[in-house]
């Protein structure tokens, strides 16, 4: 489990330290406050980081990940309960991402191999097929657990998933695709890719959580495409994932409803001590301002109608540098 993150010259952040991470971490802040940069900094420790990060920001390559004009490159350090790990990025080096420091603990490496970042870019990719294969391939098949969570979250009646040519035409020209077979009262089949964006994004989140059991889930504004009625159910499923499967979750959000849903779900499932909120803001000098709040304190503020997303209005932050 990650407990602390140190950033130096990483994307828009000149310097930042965030500590006290819990199992479920909610990152809030205005646009351009460093939330996504924090997720990407964690993703940097995955062995496929180069592929994953450059897919997200393909324009110029690694130079886009280094704070403007910093010759020394960027440095990201994570502290975990198993030790620390560090990455150094040099834009002009042949091998831009370098490993420095202690990154030898097997548990640490195994955890970072199970880092996954989910955002709504994945709606345009046929990734559910991939997740389905991963869940099927597990020694203990997890596709049934996936279907159970999806049904619970979206009130669906999926009985099973299967790959088949669908829809069936006499000419046999239909493509093979992942199909959800719905039971009572619908009794029909539907291609998974035909499901709504919210359901597909939720399915991706839940599948990735199950497939990376004990790993780290990085969720970029998971509230997107979700109807308010699905938010609480999704929050509940995520809290359960963390509680029962040991995932550490980092979610960015602009949604008060999503924050409320996580608070409610964590309280109901008696996991409130594992939920924490972090308000981020990049100061004019590039340093990262962080204010953390344990869930019980966040609940008190929520109860009186205080909106955590506007914390910065009530704090005295350094003024703009002339």
């Amino acid at each position: 489990m990650i407990t602390k993150l140190e950033l130096e010259n990483w994307r828009g952040i000149k310097r930042g330290v965030i500590e006290g991470f819990q199992r479920i971490n909610v990152l809030v802040g205005r646009n351009n406050s460093g939330k996504s940069s924090v997720l990407e900094a964690i993703l940097l420790f995955n062995q496929s980081a180069e592929k994953l990060l450059l897919q997200r920001r393909p324009k110029q390559g690694w130079i886009d990940f280094i704070f403007i004009g910093q010759q020394d490159g960027a440095r990201v350090k994570v502290h975990t309960i198993w030790g620390t790990a560090e990455r150094l990025i040099k834009a002009d080096s042949a091998s831009p991402v370098m490993v420095v420091g202690n990154f030898s603990h097997s548990k640490l490496m195994a955890t970072f191999d199970k880092v996954v970042l989910i955002d709504d870019r994945q709606l345009s990719e046929p990734n559910l097929d991939e997740w389905y294969s991963q869940l099927l391939a597990r020694e203990q098949r997890l596709d049934k657990e996936w279907i159970r969570l999806v049904n619970e979250t979206y009130g669906l009646c999926v009985e099973y998933l299967t790959r088949m040519r669908f829809p069936t035409f006499p000419t046999g020209e239909s493509p093979e695709r992942l199909v959800a077979v719905l039971g009572e009262p619908e009794n029909r089949a539907v291609a998974v890719e035909w499901l709504g964006d919210g359901v597909r994004l939720g399915m991706t989140i839940l599948a990735s959580g199950l497939a990376t059991e004990g790993g780290i889930m990085l969720l970029e504004e998971p509230e997107n495409h979700q109807h308010p009625s699905a938010l609480f159910a999704l929050a509940r499923s995520l809290v359960k994932l963390s509680q029962e499967h040991g995932n550490q979750i980092f979610t960015t959000t602009h949604s008060r409803e999503w924050m409320q849903a996580l608070l409610k779900a964590a309280t109901e499932l008696e996991f409130v001590g594992a939920l924490k909120f972090f308000h981020l803001q990049i100061l004019p000098d590039g340093n990262l301002w962080v204010r953390s709040l344990d869930a019980p304190d966040a609940q008190v503020l929520e109860d009186i109608g205080y909106d955590l997303r506007f914390d910065y209005e009530f704090a005295r932050l350094p003024q703009k540098v002339e």
Binding site: W289, R291, S292, L293, D297, A298, V300, L301, D303, I304, G305, Y306, D311, E313, F314, A315, R316, L317
Partner: protein, 222 residues
């Protein structure tokens, strides 16, 4: 940067929001009601917000200002890393957040004492305002024919006390007067009517509160 004003109940929230707006501080502060969760939990949650300005408005009840201050200080010390920097003013040493305590009530008011009021709340200020401006508050604003609220209370309180003693809180006495005046509806309604077009800072009834709020905000901004 805005200050966080914590008030005891719904009437207080409606009143202080209006008072702060009339003082031209509507944008500078945000008012929150703490009756459900307790002020200490809010202060604990906000004490790590860098240089946050917290203002706690607390009914005096039957205590003196000093007694109230001692009680608040004792509770604040349970949070740790807090020190009192001057009267009614504390500093959270790590975050630089501050807390100002503003007692609510008029324990030195002779008219209120004369009516047997021993416990003080926001309603102490409202009663004082009604006593000062019976024509303006009652005739003009509500159309009620009763012109002398103090005299009315002097007459009816002894009778009610025979059945329901001690009737010594400003809140209860104000309820009696509200009933006699036939003021129904929620606080937004009657507080709104009372405070329409009032020059708050010129009113003895609200002067202390207004001065203390301004002082708390100016201390922070200096």
């Amino acid at each position: 940067m805005r200050a966080i004003v914590m008030v005891e109940g719904l009437s207080d929230k409606v009143f202080f929001e209006r008072l702060l707006r009339l003082m031209g501080l509507g944008q500078a502060v945000e008012t929150y009601e703490y009756s459900e969760v307790g002020y200490l939990k809010i202060i604990r949650a906000q004490s790590n917000l860098p240089s946050a300005q917290l203002i706690l408005l607390r009914d005096l009840g039957s205590a003196t200002g000093e007694e109230l201050q001692t009680e608040i200080d004792k509770n604040l010390q349970t949070l740790g890393k807090v020190k009192q920097v001057e009267a009614m003013h504390w500093l959270f040493v790590e975050s630089g957040a501050t807390l100002h305590l503003i007692p609510v009530g008029l324990p030195d008011d002779d008219d209120l004492k004369g009516l047997g009021i021993r416990r003080h709340e926001l309603e102490s200020h409202l009663l004082r305002f009604l006593f000062d401006h019976p024509e303006k508050c009652i005739h003009e604003r509500t159309g009620c024919p009763i012109a002398k609220p103090k005299k009315l209370l002097q007459e009816i309180l002894p009778i009610i006390r025979r059945y329901d003693p001690p009737l010594d809180s400003a809140k209860d006495v104000f309820q009696v007067l509200r009933g006699a005046l036939g003021w129904t509806g929620g606080p937004s309604n009657w507080i709104g009517k009372l405070l329409r077009d009032v020059k708050i800072e010129c009113e003895p009834a609200f002067q202390t509160l207004a001065e203390r709020i301004k002082q708390a905000l100016s201390t922070e901004n200096s």
